[in-house]
């Protein structure tokens, strides 16, 4: 059974159909890139998968549970337990240090564990920057903290929204390398991007246009 399944999803804002009858299923451990121009519905889809929004119509099955029917409170719990979020603008709490930012996610999930948080930062190569505030970190470093935070609770899906949008090429490569590692550890990755280079390295690329799926391709070069 698929980990995530979207069935006949539509999202309508007044006259505008942001998503128009989408069907999609993502298997456990898959690495999916979602592409498309601005206004194609990428963000709406990401919000729905990330339990931050509900579709106007259709079902969203995550682990067999229809999250479109859940209350806002339950959505928060599902997001906390199953989803790790990575943002284009990083969104770190600016008065907490790198390691504390990671611990915030632990705090809301279960119990803060500084050792575990440090290991997560070590993994993204930031062990020696753990005590710095976000304003003292470069963009790439901030994004790595954000990734460490997304991973700390071992989510079933890591959802990244334009993770490299604010990064230079060197940092972009670091982030993509991390994604590779995650994939090898069988983490399900959904990356929303408009950068073909980022999409290229994914296992599967879905292209959206005007709220519909324009193409759904398996990357033949994957892993090479």
């Amino acid at each position: 059974m698929s980990l995530l399944e979207l069935k006949n999803i539509s999202k309508i804002y007044g006259e505008l159909k942001a998503l128009d009858n989408i069907n999609l299923s993502v298997d456990n451990g898959e690495w999916v890139a979602i592409m498309g121009p601005s206004g194609s519905g990428k963000s709406t889809m990401m919000n729905i998968i990330g339990c931050m929004d509900k579709p106007s119509m259709g079902e969203v099955l995550l682990d067999g549970v229809d999250i479109a029917r859940e209350s806002a409170k339950n959505l928060t719990a599902i997001r906390r337990d199953k989803i790790g979020l990575i943002f284009q603008q990083f969104h770190l709490v600016n008065y907490l240090t790198a390691v504390e930012n990671v611990m915030v996610a632990q705090y809301y999930h279960s119990i803060p564990d500084e050792k575990e948080a440090m290991e997560a930062l070590e993994r993204v190569g930031l062990a020696e920057r753990a005590r710095h505030l976000p304003s003292q970190l470069s963009g790439g470093e901030q994004q790595r903290v954000c990734i460490a935070r997304a991973l700390i609770n071992h989510p079933e899906i890591v959802l990244a929204d334009e993770p490299t949008g604010n990064l230079d090429e060197a940092n972009e490569n670091i982030v993509l390398d991390l994604f590779h590692q995650l994939h090898e550890e069988h983490t399900t990755l959904i990356v929303v991007t408009h950068d073909p280079e980022v999409a290229e390295v994914a296992q599967r690329t879905i292209t959206l246009d005007h709220g519909r799926i324009k193409s759904d391709l398996i990357n033949e070069n994957f892993g090479k």
Binding site: N47, L85, Y95, L96, M103, Y108, P112, E114
Partner: protein, 384 residues
């Protein structure tokens, strides 16, 4: 690390590392708390302080001889005054009026305790000095004018004829030389008398009963009438009476003044508290994005509210303590400047100020935080 420890780490980090913003909030709370503690302390203490000022109007109770046989003397007055709490008694002046002769003219001399008169009649205006030793004399302005006396003159005071008849000792007929240390200006009938020490008067005309005793008591109108009843019942030598002109007017004026300070305090407090609340609300509203982020990370509404309230309450606590201290200092400054006396420390004001600061801060944070938690995290995270 326990959850609670992380909770405190987060709120203290927010307070310490977001220094400028938190200072803004802290300043607002501290100013509010200062005004609260300062004005309320003044408000509580004003009746006492103003009451003391009102004692400037002089005696508000008099003792007179009762109609029975009992002797009305200084011992009787002291017995009566002892029934009033000593810290409320500002002064007790006994008076005995006898006619004496100065320059062969009859003049009424009042024997009294000059030190006490200074407290029971603080409004007396003296040209020259107050008498300080026996043998000194204070002369009413009218007497001085009609007899042609001036400050520094020494005059011979004799007992009047009728008392001489009663007492055959020749010494009394010679009279006593007394020095005029000051002329008295009151604009009232006091200007027609001369004032000498009780001992001098007794020396002149012999011992005798008092005519009246004036008391200045720092107490409310209710307390005063209670004292009158007690003394009337327990001291048979004395008939106490209130000087209504002073007591009634005092309570009228004091009531007004208290109402004035009360209303001013109320208006200032309400406005200041709203100011504090708007500032706090502005400071919290600024952090909508952070609230959105926390929600996206899976924080429940209740845990976000708990964290922000924790932060607010900590601010309220610190601001409240600072304000309570500053407010007391302000009240003390006012008291010293205005009433030249130190203010009573109201121990209750400390917890009250802190609790009110915490409540106001809490209420001011609660609404914007609750509003912020209703927001879709996706919307907050999207917009830069």
């Amino acid at each position: 690390m326990s959850k609670r420890k992380m909770f405190f780490k987060m709120i203290t980090a927010s307070l310490v590392r977001r220094r400028s913003r938190m200072l803004v909030a802290l300043l607002a709370i501290a100013v509010g708390a200062t005004i609260l503690s300062g004005l309320v302390t003044i408000y509580i203490d004003v009746p006492r302080q103003m009451g003391a000022e009102m004692r400037n109007y002089g005696a508000n109770m008099i003792f007179m001889a009762s109609s029975n046989e009992a002797v009305f003397d200084r011992a009787a007055v002291e017995k009566g005054a002892a029934l009033i709490p000593p810290d409320q008694v500002v002064g007790v002046s006994p008076y005995r009026y006898e006619t004496v002769r100065i320059h062969e003219q009859p003049v009424v001399a009042a024997g009294t305790d000059i030190e006490q008169v200074r407290t029971t009649s603080p409004y007396w205006m003296i040209e020259g000095d107050w008498p300080s030793v026996t043998g000194d004399m204070l002369v009413g302005q009218d007497v001085a004018e009609s007899l042609g006396l001036g400050v520094g003159d020494t005059v011979n005071v004799m007992s009047s004829d009728d008392s001489k008849e009663k007492d055959s000792e020749d010494l009394l007929n010679l009279g006593v030389d007394m020095k005029i240390t000051g002329l008295l200006d009151t604009g009232g009938s006091e200007e027609n008398y001369v004032y000498i020490a009780m001992e001098d008067l007794e020396g002149l005309v012999g011992p005798g009963e008092l005519d009246v005793a004036e008391l200045s008591i720092s107490a409310t109108a209710d307390e005063l009438s209670k004292y009158v009843d007690t003394i009337d019942a327990e001291v048979e030598e004395v008939t106490p009476r209130l000087v209504k002109r002073v007591t009634e007017s005092e309570s009228t004026v004091l009531t007004k003044l208290q109402a004035l300070v009360f209303l001013v305090t109320a208006v200032v407090l309400v406005l200041t508290m709203i100011c504090v609340a708007t500032t706090m609300a502005a400071v919290v509203a600024e952090r909508r994005k952070e609230i959105g982020l926390r929600k996206a990370l899976g924080a429940s509404d209740s845990s976000i509210i708990r964290e922000f309230m924790g932060e607010g309450l900590l601010l309220g606590l610190v601001g409240g303590i600072v304000g309570a201290i500053l407010g007391f200092l302000f009240a003390q400054f006012v008291s010293v400047r205005v009433f030249a006396s130190s203010i009573t420390f109201q121990p209750l004001m400390l917890p009250v100020t802190i609790i009110v600061s915490i409540l106001i801060t809490g209420a001011a944070c609660l609404f914007p935080v609750r509003n912020a938690t209703k927001i879709d995290p996706a919307l907050v995270l999207k917009g830069e």
